[in-house]
Amino acid sequence: MANLTLKDLQKSYGKTEVLHGINLEVKDGEFVVFVGPSGCGKSTTLRLIAGLEDASGGDIEIGGRVVNNLEPRDRDIAMVFQNYAIYPHMSVKKNIAFGLRTSKLSKPEKEARIQDVAAILDMVDLLERKPNQLSGGQRQRVAIGRAMVRDPAVFLFDEPLSNLDAQLRTQMRLEIKKLHQRVGNTIVFVTHDQVEAMTMADRIVIMKGGHIQQVGPPEQVYRTPANIFVAQFIGAPSMNIWDGEIKGGRVMLGDVALPLSLAHVKAGTPLKIGVRPDDLQLGSADPILHGTVSLREPLGPETLLYLSSDLGAVIVRAPGKNPPEVGDRIALGALAENIHLFDATSGEALV
């Protein structure tokens, strides 16, 4: 089976360590998305899995065998590049066939395979075209086709959607997800876009500074972020974070005691308190803070309100119809289950 296992994977360039021991198990057929800001090591991890770069330490296992010392072609993987890497001088068909050059299949078998892939990707009519006669989305599909034709154990995608415009990106996102449901291969997908990560992944791997911050299904990383970084990175607009503290076993946000108790935390410990803009209730009877609207961003179905308060800036999601006016003072409440608490020094979530 095509499990992918990373064991204490490290990478350094000279003295600069960019990956500090990555541990991850990807199950057969799983769609895993690596997400993080640029320079977090997500692309490096992918290139190490592909074999385009050598690991400085640790093991990579694909389907139960250690592939560290295998050439990329022997690792049973295929990769889709950010700039697609399709050859401009070859027709679509030749581009797809290039992935089969070293395969031992007979000519009719190869031809059948190309036709199959073209059919799945809805490109049968485009096979004789040159890449410069294709749209961005079609080129993207050629790149996927070239990877698919190899029928690899693991697909690697390196930010494949970032060169497309917003509308096409949404469309390709769906297509890739559908494709995964259909062919069922293991996919490792790298992106810096948290929306892509949330919408496509079975499990998200959030990275920062060469460390994994959290691994889990989209729901889980959204509902129970492991630390402040994850809390703010996942979800748009970002989670509101304020300073708080513990007084007499009560969690205090300014002068307000929140409906939470943290018996195991010492009194006087500084805390960070986070609530997502969606989870703040306007005009609550039992408010946790008050703020004055300083800016509105109407988005149609909803309006984003930027408030100034004694605790600092606050972002709130308000309904699209009849939102509060700029200058209005509003009360905001939150349910206990939607309030996230973090250690102020380490940034780790407190449960």
């Binding site: 990329p72 072609r73 990769m79 700039n83 401009p88």
Partner: protein, 297 residues
């Protein structure tokens, strides 16, 4: 209403464009087009620089057609082209391809290859001429003698002279072609090679299926550029065979040297002009043919 306000923006742009273009256009007309036209007219006239120009009709061309030396020279010119262009192309590509991978003293090595291009052709020709001398002066014959191989008569043999003159001409142009090839190689995205590595194709396949096709614009440029260079070869030949320019027995004489001879030794300007027109036509045809053969299909 004055002129400035009556013109549309587009008309103003055109006016400005032609204003700026006027100087180069004038320059080209005086320096390029007028002499070219004049040379074509002259090819139908007789003129020895001193007397008046008299009409000769097609006499100069008829004379050229029956001139044995012209056909010999015509052949030489194409030998320079057909040997020089492919050799320089292959050698410069091989150097560029490997130099591209060298990290050690990359800049210095590249500079060393470029150095001959900046050196005076006259000086180079004389140094090479010296290399070609018999033992004990010439380095090549000295090397041959060390291994007990018979001496080779480079510049005084009708068969060896042309390649011997061509070699330094190829060598001199390499630096430039290597630089252009390296720029072409650098312009190929690395992801193409990474994708090929994942597909697991051989180095030979990568070279023939990816690198060379993607270098096509570079190859076209260098082919046309070096072809024109070899068709117009002059200074190397002239300086390596000064005692008897183009010799021995016209074995190394290219068209440009014949034109020079006819014009400034024979003072037959009309005849020289006719040869020039022929050279011009050849250059035009060869360049167009190459562009046609190497076009995007």
């Amino acid at each position: 209403m004055n002129l400035r306000n009556t013109l549309t923006i587009r008309q103003k742009h055109i006016l400005w464009a032609w204003g700026f273009l006027a100087i180069p256009v004038l320059f080209y007309v005086v320096i390029r087009f007028y002499p070219t036209g004049n040379a074509i007219v002259l090819s139908f006239q007789n003129w020895n620089l001193l007397s008046a120009r008299t009409w000769a009709g097609a006499d100069n061309y008829v004379k050229l057609w029956h001139d044995e030396v012209f056909w010999k020279v015509f052949k030489n010119t194409f030998v320079y082209l057909l040997l020089g262009t492919p050799f320089s192309l292959v050698i410069s590509f091989l150097i560029a391809f490997h130099l591209d991978r060298v990290r050690f003293m990359h800049g210095f090595i590249r500079m060393m290859y470029f150095l001959p291009f900046m050196t005076s052709a006259v000086a180079m020709a004389w140094v090479w001429r010296w290399f070609y001398q018999p033992v004990p002066v010439g380095i090549f014959n000295n090397i041959l003698a060390t291994f007990g191989i018979p001496q080779i008569n480079f510049l005084n043999s009708t068969t060896n002279a042309l390649p011997a003159v061509l070699a330094p001409a190829i060598w001199a142009g390499l630096g430039f072609q290597v630089i252009i090839f390296m720029a072409g190689l650098r312009a190929i995205p690395t992801s193409y090679y990474e994708a090929a590595r994942i597909d697991g194709v051989s180095g030979f396949t990568i070279l023939t299926q990816i690198t060379i096709p993607l270098l096509k614009p570079t190859i076209i440029f260098i082919t046309v550029f070096s072809s024109i260079g070899f068709l117009r070869i002059f200074d190397h030949v002239f300086n390596m065979t000064t005692n008897n320019p183009g010799g021995p027995l016209n074995a190394t004489k290219p068209l440009v040297l014949m034109i020079y001879d006819t014009a400034f030794n024979g003072f037959d300007m009309g005849y020289a002009a006719a040869q020039t027109v022929v050279l011009f036509t050849i250059l035009l045809c060869v360049s167009l043919l190459q562009l046609y053969l190497l076009r995007d299909r």
